[in-house]
């Protein structure tokens, strides 16, 4: 464990470095935590967590946790998040012990594979139960990595969102805006790691560095602490006399923030400014004014730090958090669906008693292509008591509306007798 006495930061730091633990979970996570591990984060404990012994051996983290079981023999999950999750649940006590004593836990992982997607949510739960503020920083796979990885990543993200306090995602597809024709794959991954590291650094500064404008750790906790939050983040740097205006412009054009749209949709904005000793109040104000205007429905938490090395420069890390109150595949409706559902519906189709079935054995409800890989639930099928021929619609695609096949005659579905 790194000795916190090495910390050269002032003792009146808002949060003592020792109380932050940074976990790198899974292959990508371990590489990322290695990329982070240098003096800047002195005082934090780095932990590498993986099922693959080889990746752990290559890591430079001071603490390594190898999750293994007899079946895997140190080889890894084989890209199956279920295995990763099962392993993590089995070793839950180990995870809890590892999180013990931390006031904040950062989890870095790459979603899509087995260890990251499977273990990270369980670790997040363990950290939360241990009472720490849990933040996850994850990458999402490229579109070219295929459907399976995407589905696994989405699932892992869902679980992580409910298990952690806040999740910062870096969809790898957005990296295409940072690279050109000649960037190598290795460099691209390095860029991805770099971006994620900036996010971690930004939050770290917010939590641990003293400065011009202080934020208390508890404030950050209160702001970030709620389920189902998703965030976008960006890091910009500007230099010269017009640095504040430049920094703001860069932020508003940043691809990771959807060119400013993420600000408008955000409910909480965390912003950390880092400048030299010559950072002026006016510059801070200018930045905050613009951000405030763009994100006018958001609560803004701001911190500013000074570093002599940043003379003439200004670096801004911004995290825009939004409560995902509905699933992303529902298109936005102008009226809020929650309010409507609460009001008693004026019209409802009479519930159809199901005496008649479709083709024998077919389940009544058809789910809309969900990537749900839960245990197969018992499906209640209907007995084929009356066969309804579809007549004209025999060979065409059935019209399914909210689980009902509208091609079946209405009077049949409603059980209206014809005497």
């Amino acid at each position: 464990m790194k000795n916190s006495a090495e910390t050269s930061e002032t003792p009146s730091a808002p949060l003592p470095g020792r109380a932050v633990k940074i976990f790198g979970v899974g292959g990508a996570g371990v590489i990322l935590s290695d990329a982070l591990n240098h003096e800047e984060f002195a005082g934090a404990t780095f932990v590498a967590l993986d099922t693959d012994a080889a990746s752990l051996a290559a890591s430079t983290a001071p603490v390594k946790i190898h999750l293994e079981s007899k079946l895997l023999r140190g080889l890894g999950t084989g890209g199956d998040p279920e295995r990763g999750r099962a392993l993590a649940e089995e070793q839950f006590a180990t995870l809890q012990a590892a999180c013990g004593g931390a006031r904040a836990v950062f989890i870095a992982a790459g979603l899509g594979g087995g260890a990251g997607s499977g273990i990270a949510p369980v670790l997040a739960r363990a950290a939360r139960e241990a009472g720490a503020l849990t933040l996850a920083f994850v990458t999402l796979p490229f579109a070219c990595e295929g459907n399976r990885r995407r589905q696994q990543a989405e699932q892992g993200l869902e679980q992580l969102r409910s298990a952690a306090d806040s999740v910062l995602t870096l969809p790898s597809q957005k990296l295409f805006k940072f690279i050109d024709e000649n960037t190598t794959v290795l460099d691209t991954f390095r860029i991805a790691d770099g971006l994620l590291a900036e996010g971690v650094r930004g939050i770290w500064q917010l939590l641990t560095r003293p400065g011009l404008i202080q934020i208390h750790f508890d404030d950050v906790c209160a702001v970030l602490r709620d389920g189902h939050a998703e965030s976008a983040f960006a890091f910009v740097e500007a230099a010269g006399p017009a640095r504040s205006r430049e920094a703001v412009e860069k932020l508003l054009r940043h691809p990771l923030l959807d060119e400013g749209r993420a600000l408008a949709e955000a409910e909480t904005i965390l912003i950390s400014l880092l400048g030299g000793r010559d950072l002026t109040m006016a510059e801070v104000n200018r930045v905050m004014e613009q951000i405030g205007r763009q994100g006018d429905r958001a609560r803004i938490v701001m911190g500013a730090t000074l570093d002599a090395a940043m003379k003439d420069k200004l670096a801004v890390t911004l995290i825009a958090a939004r409560n995902a109150s509905w699933k992303s595949d529902t298109p936005p409706v102008t009226a809020s669906p929650e309010a409507l559902r609460e009001a008693a519906p004026r019209y409802s189709v009479r519930p159809a008693p199901p005496p008649v079935t479709l083709e024998a054995g077919e389940p009544m409800a058809t789910r809309r292509g969900g990537a749900r890989r839960e245990k197969p639930r018992m499906l209640q099928t209907q007995l084929p008591l009356t066969i309804v021929t579809k007549g004209r619609f025999d060979k065409s695609e059935p019209t399914i509306h909210q689980g009902e096949d509208l091609d079946i005659p209405t009077f049949v579905r409603r059980g209206v007798p014809l005497n």
């Binding site: 409507l340 519906p345 021929t389 695609e397």
Partner: protein, 402 residues
């Protein structure tokens, strides 16, 4: 003077009929219907083409008839599309105004519209319509033209109609195979609304329901702009099918019964009455209970309106429909259907009449052709805009010294 570009043709490949409407733009830019061709449609189910060979033949038949009546050669059409796969939703685009003086320019407007168009559609879908609704400047809603206003955040609401690309391409390719150019594809419901609604009705808020053979399309206008669109893949065919199943008669017989004896409501006078079916020789072979017939039909039609009502309730649009509901399409011919709709929707319902369009009286009065006429009207509006733009450019060219 016969300028080819003044001939506008709307083509609707429907489930029960294919129809082509030929219109002509007169000097003031108003639309005049000069020809109509139709053919029974055999290759279409639920609004989508299932048998391209037959559909092609039917389309050719309709086009030829229209050409003969209008005495023109048809080269370009506005194609109507529908189908259960179509979806409409409202999307909002946001754009921060970066200029120092915070004045909103034309570029900002273009940018925000581009943002609004960047929607996460499923990969297999493509956009049919992206219609501008209202702008919003710094939270102030209801702005129609923000250019010149001051603000830091510009938002626009757009109504987007999208559908599965492959199915849309099926129709387009079929038409192209007949050596016809597809100027644009238009959602049938939107076309019907264009044909029926006056500006005032659009302002007050109106719902247009096109009850066709394969699908029922519906569109809501309010505050002068389109607010909601939807397609229910249930139509007149379902009524016939229900009758065939319930009365145990073949489908063709069921259709005839529907047309002759059908009604949307059950009246007391049909109790106990029966209908005798005769075969080719004129000899009676089966009796059918009239009450059953009407009940089956009534239930199906009632369900269609209930589903539409549910959708509108979900979208929160009921309070906007001050001008009421307008019905069109073949299904609007069913006796008492307006009363049934009134009962379900609890709003004044009337049969839609095409307005501000002159020409063939026989075509304009019939509810089946409303969508096709609307396609022609859509085309006329587009052509008029293009003419205005080119006239403006010509004028500019003449004024500016070379």
């Amino acid at each position: 003077m016969f300028d080819d570009s003044d001939i506008i043709v709307g083509l609707e490949i429907g489930t029960s009929k294919v129809c082509a409407v030929v219109g002509e733009l007169n000097a003031e830019g108003a639309l005049n219907i000069i020809g109509l061709g139709q053919a029974r449609s055999r290759g279409v189910r639920k609004g989508e083409i299932v048998d391209p060979a037959q559909a092609e033949e039917d389309v050719r038949h309709a086009i030829v008839e229209a050409e003969q009546m209008a005495d023109v050669e048809i080269r370009r059409v506005y194609l109507g599309v529908t189908g259960g796969h179509l979806r409409g939703f409202n999307n909002r685009g946001v754009h921060p105004v970066v200029s120092a003086d915070r004045e909103i320019t034309e570029d900002d407007v273009q940018d925000v519209i581009k943002n609004a168009k960047a929607i996460n559609l499923p990969a297999e879908n493509s956009v049919i319509h992206a219609i501008r609704q209202h702008f919003s400047v710094d939270g102030q809603a209801g702005v129609t033209n923000p250019v010149g206003m001051l603000g830091s955040r510009l938002e626009v609401d757009m109504h987007v109609v999208h559908g599965i690309t492959n199915r849309l391409q099926n129709s387009i390719r079929l038409v192209k195979g007949l050596q016809l150019d597809v100027e644009e594809i238009v959602f049938n419901g939107l076309a019907a609304a264009l044909a029926l609604l006056t500006g005032e009705q659009k302002e007050l808020g109106a719902l247009v329901i096109d009850i066709g053979g394969g699908t029922t399309d519906y569109v809501v206008y309010a505050d002068g702009i389109i607010k909601h669109t939807g397609v229910l893949a249930v139509g007149g065919d379902h009524v016939s099918n229900d009758l065939a199943y319930g009365l145990k008669v073949p489908l063709s017989r069921a259709e005839k019964l529907k047309l002759e004896y059908g009604s949307a409501l059950l009246d007391d006078d049909c109790r106990g009455r029966t209908v005798t079916l005769t075969n080719e020789l004129g000899l009676p072979f089966k009796t059918v209970n009239l009450e059953h017939l009407r009940r089956i039909m009534s239930l199906r039609l009632e369900e269609i309106f209930q589903l539409i009502a549910q959708d509108l309730e979900h979208a929160g649009l009921f309070d906007y429909l001050r001008a009421g509901v307008f019905l069109c399409g073949g299904g609007a011919r069913v006796p008492q259907i307006a009363r049934l709709a009134e009962r379900v929707l609890q709003m004044p319902v009337s049969l839609g009449r095409t307005n501000s369009i002159s020409g063939l009286k026989s075509a304009l009065d019939q509810p089946e052709f409303v969508a096709a006429i609307g396609l022609a009207k859509f085309g006329s509006l587009k052509t008029r805009k293009r003419h205005d733009q080119s006239r403006f450019k010509n004028l500019l060219g003449k004024l500016l010294p070379r």
